[in-house]
Symmetry: D2
């Protein structure tokens, strides 16, 4: 057993941290303040990418900090994902943001050469963005077999009819393509009914009905859209890995993505703990630093324990994913999906209390962090569904039906 | 012991419920959707009071549902406050909204006839609104003795210099006056240094620097402001109950207000539980109503227990306030300040999980409810400060210094 | 609404408290030390009733503190039950101990004159004790329809075959009769299959196989027994309220009993909190009273909130029981069954931590209190079953099948 | 990063598991039943070592499963410690039980050749046992500087006066020596006042006043004693590492011991989870396996997450101890001291609920496991003290005084 990172992971993590601290943080602070001021002033939300951010992307690429998720093992990428969790901008600056990373992995793993040429290359290049359209407003989408949007084969075309929402990334000005999960063969086995289809965003019949807010935040410029599909036709060649393969693809897509998400949550939690310690030592009430009042120090300790234990849980899941692939790490991946956002939410909650009113406001990144962590407890399957899977696998070891 | 409400409380609670269901709810739903659409479309926030709401106020007044907080005992008003917690608009429609209720109570209890004529009458009439300026950005305001804004006597005037924030209500178009807590005599006993001063909003030197958002919500049209005071002069006759009385006033002000807040939290929790039950029974996943999956039913039970126990705790505190006044119910009032928003937050959190993505969006009132409950854990003193007070009183019974 | 106790309840509660403090506490302390010394010395457990305790019973009776559970409404008896929770001996001294109270209530409510003469009179007199035999070792007894011991009618006799355990009271030297739940008609509706039968302990075929320990404690002299029934015959006239009525009886039996149990748990929690405050102020570590370290004061506050809220929940349930009977208070009674022992366990846990090693030992009543509270989370139906019932009733209000 | 165990660790862990399953488990089951029967029958506790256990020791030694803690790195020994946590007997059978392991480590690290010859050799040989006397009944012992027993130099002797308790191991028939912490120089720096002294158990003036029970369990044949020292004289050469070194020694002693304890807690938690799954699938209530009722499956999932995360936390702490020694892993060791018993207690609590009444009784090892985990939350410093240390180290990184 060896808990040291590889030399390459250590070096890249250091470079990413330096770049975030030195280059991204100041820009992010400015943009955050600017957008908070705009919100307070009642100004319209901007959906364009600020030029400063495009410039950061160019510089990150020059320094080799680009597409790292694609070049490294999960265990080596994990500390980098944590580092990017300190910043809301960083994942995008390094071309490592959801949902594009997951979409790129799908194309890399299952795409035809034509699909890869047309979509993967510009995604890796950062010249286009993409969305992933799975969740539907009319059904409980935590059960993916519920999905009702139809993706019917008609000659050498596939026709999509239905409605998706929480399609993240669809608001981005560079968004060009969606991976859409649709029902192709209702009579097949429940895990073979659905297909994943590449749908260019400008396909006739595709319409972004509205952008959704997450607790008041629109998460511009990516955003989350409600998208309708009305007789939208694309070539059958746009089906990834053939009809009925949606479940197999989804399974494989989510392992690494969940490691990224979970490690970013750890980064967010670390940042919140850092802010709590700074503020708690700097401000005084009732004659003492706030940190020395009541149970605050115990909460620091509990945060440290929870963060460390959960980070190790994620690193171990990443290691298992690397070693045996997604099917070998099913339970582990669900475990981190449950643990990480809950830990982050709890630590951020503490940091908010320590900050008092300031913790609720846009003057600190805590309110955004808190809503981000809260949303992750639902995104990609709510906690409860993952707990169900973990229990099912555990009980199967004791002879229960799997 | 008798847990039945008085006949009058029962009748008025019924009337309030009917009015909310029949009159307010449809308007609120429309306004909520309209404002969510505006937010999504990036439109500017509106700070005016919609005409429909002014009309609701007139109708409520016609039916005798006006200023009920002022006419009833705390124990009789408690179930009405709970009923208004189901709606974000209701407190204002019934002229029972914070911070105006607290300010009216202060004027009623401590105001001179002149102060009452000038401010209390139009507040009770609903023709003006007011703010309460206590918290400051530069110090830990959970310790009220920290407040640094100066309110210095200069002849028959008092001069205010400093900065407040989280001054709720200052964004309202009818806001005409602030009650400002300022430091008058730094050499006095720590509980006799500060004064409460009535400051007309148009006093030269008073400036609303910006409106603050609570996790992205501006809570228009009331809002929370950061307000600077630069050599702002008002007559010394505007000091309430004389110089150095701020602590005595704050103590008395907060008891009933905390009962109102806490009962509204119970109303909010009941509404969230109601929505969770409806949604959990209506939607199906993995072949069952969502409500029958995992631990959801246990969470319904835990919510029911926590809501019922906390409601009783608040009613008992109200009863003690009525019987013995704020000093007799110090611990009880702090207990409900801690318990109520935490219960509400926990129940709303569950309701959000049951709603999946919809629970995060503006399509349901849950995200707003959640941020409201979260903010109450800080407003009027964070949980931790109240826990400290409860413990201090408990330990004093065992001989510790009080 | 009125939270004051009735004059009679207040007076009797005061008398009970005085008797416990003045008379019972010293005896209990001696007996506790004596039995701890005996355990440490490896001496045999004694199953007789110490003469001092019989003397306490006589004195309590002389003062009119006898069978109070039977004379008072639930709401009036509740504070008395809380007072007796401070002492392990008190319930027995006042002839108000489980399971005899529940058995007496059953006989009072459902017994024939003959059954009452033979069993109720000496139980009220304290000259005999009784047991309640429901739980079985071979089946999940949280579902009472699972019970397999047969109680078959044979002419004018009923014959019992099967095995029970956790039959509390069977070790008491005065135990003379058991109320046994048996399966009489397997073909009837699931709630009409079982009967309650009065079985004298000396009936041939009845055998106490062993006494069970609860986490190492035998709870002498009452104890919990595993009892076998082998062709045990009693007159059919010993069936209470006729064959098939076991469920109806059990339902009615448990309401008041659960109020008693729950209030005793509150008494236990108060005592633990009291001990924690005393110890926490008296001992010093790292230069401060232990109570001022870490989150201890917050735990005092949380204990105070939880105890107060839960007490009110129980008092309200008692009031509802009084007003509408057990069927009107089904959910409320289950709510207190869940809430009270959990609160007690949590407060006692805190008190143990404050006491350090002493809290684990027999030098303080905390270890016994903790195991008592832990056991109550299972006795009379585990938490989970009660949560299930509460949820079922809640969801029935939203249209789910009841 | 590599999460695989070394070949040697894997092989030895397998051998230990096989030995426990094949050899120890049947003996342990018999002894557990025998001692439960004896307790129920009121028979005296036996303090001798059953011959079967001595035979198991011989066989373990023959197979090379002896003193493994001493031969392996912490990270390699960790999975073995976990395996031994499934059994109450195993640590002793493998000569790896507390407090002897810690005492052996102290002698190995700090002992003179004479001290090692006289005490370490027979301890490694298993022919004698030892105790560790630190905690005192009269002071809050969580602050080790509080210790008042005096160890005064008098010529070439050291004289001990005072009283200790929770001296584990003192009841063992082979116990021959205690390591006693005593106050030597009250005027020195607070961390240089105390000495560790080797005191043969038969030294005149040393008296075991009584054996203490932990929630009713005496933990025979080791036991926990209250020991008085009255003018007890031993040669000054019995002081370990010289006068005033007690703190330095305690610091070094506790790192590995806490890894052992924590990993045994993980083993205990795994066993409880295993039993919960077995029972939950085997028993039926309300028409379903108990495991499928309410939130039980979620609790399985939460247990799996908590166990896995905490195991990794411990393994990481072990790795850090190996790499940098106890001072480099101070926070990590305190983290596992807090996390492990809390996780174990929570998982065991769940397993008890699943078992119903059986879970409280001696028919299953759960009640003993629960009290064991509860006691560990106090032994070697209560949770709160460790949380305080973790926070202190965390805040020191933000500039607070260390």
């Amino acid at each position: 057993m060896d808990f040291s990172p590889s030399a390459r992971a250590a070096e890249l993590t250091g470079a990413v941290r330096d770049f975030i601290d030195g280059e991204i943080a100041p820009v992010e602070h400015d943009l955050h303040q600017r957008s908070a001021r705009a919100r307070r002033a009642g100004e319209p939300v901007s959906w364009r990418v600020p030029e400063e951010v495009r410039e950061l992307q160019r510089r990150a690429r020059d320094r080799g900090l680009w597409n790292l998720f694609a070049d490294l093992s999960n265990v080596d990428y994990a500390p980098i994902a944590e580092a990017t969790g300190w910043s809301f901008l960083a994942p995008y600056v390094f071309n490592c943001n959801a949902p594009d990373t997951g979409n790129m992995e799908v194309l890399e793993k299952y795409g035809t050469p034509e699909q890869r040429d047309r979509w993967l290359t510009p995604l890796l290049d950062g010249t286009i963005r993409s969305g992933f359209a799975m969740t539907e407003p009319a059904v409980a989408s935590s059960d993916a077999t519920n999905m009702q949007l139809t993706a019917v084969l008609d000659g050498d075309e596939v026709v999509l009819d239905g409605r998706k929402w929480w399609t993240t990334g669809v608001g981005h000005p560079d968004c060009r393509v969606l991976i859409v999960m649709g029902l192709t063969d209702p009579g097949a086995h429940r895990h073979a009914r659905h297909s994943m289809v590449l749908v260019p965003i400008d396909t006739p019949g595709v319409k972004v009905e509205r952008m959704l807010d997450t607790m008041g935040f629109l998460d511009e410029p990516f955003g989350h859209g409600e998208v309708s599909f009305t007789g939208a036709r694309v070539p059958a060649a746009n089906i990834i890995a053939g009809p009925g393969q949606a479940f197999a693809i989804a399974q494989g897509r989510l392992g690494p993505g969940r490691v990224h998400h979970a490690m970013r949550m750890i980064g967010l939690a670390e940042r919140a703990l850092h802010l709590a310690c700074e503020r708690g030592l700097a401000r005084t009430a009732f004659g003492k630093p706030i940190m020395n009042l009541g149970g605050n120090r115990e909460r620091v300790a509990d945060a440290r324990i929870a963060i460390n234990a959960t980070r190790l849980l994620i690193q171990h899941a990443a290691w298992k994913l690397d070693a045996g692939g997604p099917m070998a790490a099913l339970s582990e991946v669900s475990q981190i999906k449950v643990a990480a956002p809950n830990v982050a939410q709890q630590v951020i909650d503490f940091a908010m209390q320590i900050h008092g009113g300031a913790g609720l406001s846009s003057d600190f990144p805590l309110a955004s962090a808190w809503t981000a962590a809260r949303a992750v407890r639902i995104a990609d399957g709510p906690d409860e569904v993952h707990r169900g899977l973990i229990a099912r696998l555990e009980l199967a070891d004791h002879g229960a039906a799997r």
